[in-house]
């Protein structure tokens, strides 16, 4: 009975792995093949080892349609994703800290106002946001890419829940030890919620990395093209064939940084999940 359930569990797991990994393998194999062959539907599941150089050449030289090399797009994407993730964490950390640990007038009003903005994602307020950015002369700038995405109700709510779960005695012990608000934040609160912050960072980094609509609108300068924009620009415009192999190579390259972030932070997740305080 035992071995049978084990076998079943492994079969289900294996199926899951295949389901998730197959598309990735397909674009990896496709990247090394002939654009015309892919357009005809003759995509082989075996990568052509002689054409592995496409990743390097795409990275160095760009995709042909866009003068910006792909490494530059990756840098822009990484900068944007990091800026958004770190900025969101800093802002929501401070606002959640204020809402949970301080008593001030209109505290709950402030909290609910933040809460309500959950219903107003960038897509909904895109035109007014664009107008504001234009007034600030932030169009076609790195700040324009990141600033409007910094405020985050989701992260604030999540951190509020984390902070609420911190025992009152811990806060009081720190007060008796003479820790002021800044000291408490830096020496106690952030280390205690480090695992949650790491998890949040991963989610926000991937969110920032995958941004499409806002960068498309606010940054028309090719020097500010993100990798996601770069991939989409290659899609068949009607005059030229879509260079599928180049696109797939870029897609493979675009996957790598988020994977690195997840793998690097994974240690912290596991720590956060297994080290339960009594």
């Amino acid at each position: 009975m035992r071995t049978r359930t084990d076998w079943l569990a492994h079969a289900v797991l294996g199926l899951g792995v295949v389901l998730f990994a197959f598309p990735v393998w397909l674009i990896f194999a496709g990247a090394t093949q002939d654009a015309g062959a892919i357009n005809r539907g003759d995509i082989s599941l075996l990568p052509r080892l002689s054409h592995l150089g496409i990743f390097l050449s795409v990275l160095r030289n760009g995709d042909g349609a866009n003068p910006t090399p792909v490494w530059h797009m990756l840098m822009i994407s990484a900068g944007m994703a990091l800026g958004i993730a770190i900025g969101k964490i800093v802002i929501s950390l401070l606002s959640a800290y204020a809402v949970v640990f301080f008593r001030f007038p209109f505290r709950m009003l402030a909290f609910w106002t933040i809460f309500i903005t959950l219903m107003l994602p960038v897509e909904v307020r895109i035109i007014p946001t664009y107008a504001v950015m234009a007034d600030f002369h932030m169009i076609n700038s790195f700040a324009g890419l990141t600033v409007p995405l910094l405020a985050s109700a989701t992260a604030t709510l999540l951190l509020r829940q984390v902070f609420l779960a911190i025992p009152d005695e811990l806060v009081e012990a720190a007060r008796m030890d003479g820790a002021g608000p800044v000291r408490f934040l830096v020496s106690i609160l952030i280390p205690v919620s480090a695992a949650n912050l790491a998890a949040l960072f991963v989610i926000l980094f991937v969110y920032g990395w995958n941004q499409y609509l806002w960068p498309l609108l606010v940054a028309t300068d090719p020097r500010l093209d993100t990798i996601v924009i770069g991939i989409v620009q290659l899609i068949d415009t009607g005059f030229t064939l879509t260079p599928w192999n180049t696109m797939m190579a870029m897609a493979v390259l675009a996957i790598i940084p988020p994977v690195i972030v997840v793998v690097a932070m994974q240690r912290w997740f596991v720590k956060g999940l297994t080290e339960v305080e009594k």
Binding site: M176, G178, A194, E277
Partner: protein, 369 residues
Amino acid sequence: MASLELRGLAKSFGAQVVLDGIDLTVADGEMLVIVGASGCGKSTLLRLVAGLEQPSRGEVILDGRDITDRDPAERDIAMVFQNYALYPHMSVFQNMAFGLKIRGLPQADIRRRVGAAAEMLGLGDLLTRKPRALSGGQRQRVAMGRAIVREPKLFLFDEPLSNLDAKLRVQMRADIRRLQRRFAITSLYVTHDQVEAMTLGDRLVVMREGRAAQVATPMEVFARPADTYVAGFIGAPAMNFLPARLTAGGHGAALAAGPAILFADGPRPGPEGRGLTIGIRPEHVQLDPAGMAFAVDLVEPLGSETLVHGRLADGEGLVVKIAGQAPPGEALRVALPPAQLHVFDAGNGTRLEPETATVGPLAGLAVTG
């Protein structure tokens, strides 16, 4: 170390009065234990002294200085919390050193103080461990150490042993008392456990509904409880209470169950027939073939002694503690030795002391312990 004085300390949360004017003095080096049922305001009292809450009225005076409006960190008071409240991400050393570091003590001093405290508490080998790698008793000692290294004027203990198992609790209780005596640490200790209260305290404060029902030494509280609440709270199993009336010109009590008992220590004030509550501890009730009828309905053997629950002739419940085993049978006879009786007013439950020859008949009314 220093002495602590509380003057008319009161705290209300909205309309709810939690503390109703507490006056207390803790002498230098004294361990004062505050004991009471949950919700009696004992923890609030401690938090007011710590500065974690602001009192609605009254003053906290430590070492002659009014510290009522000071921040907790500026009061020179350390507190040991019920759930230890150790910083989970810091090692034992860092936990103990945190407060000193904030105070800006030199590294060498910090290391010396933490080292000395760790040695004293037997934590020397554990300094690099994180709290989660410690047992409950070890965590408790780290929490103590964190308080000790600060060398405060006053120690506050908020039910520090209630998260430990029974065996460890007994051991830690003795350890705390030993440390406190050795260093003459002025301490306020809050607990709901009467055994802790009796064994730890130089004096006890029995609290009830935001007031101090009695402040006295443990043996005084046990021997002469100020009212029926204190009498019922201290001592296990709880004291028996029997309704009675004053009789024989104040020299005796007529129990509702039948016989009149003459007081051993002198007459109580008041008119003939005044309502009384007679208290007697289960261990003081005696089996006596000439005594009152006692119908047994439950026998609880505890090994070296036996608790016998039953009823008197008027249906009033009584618990009797007998050394060894209970005699067989459902019908026993018990006597209440006059020297062991506690006499309380039936109305407000205050203790009635005997009138002495030199004191006027009404003076006894004012004596409530």
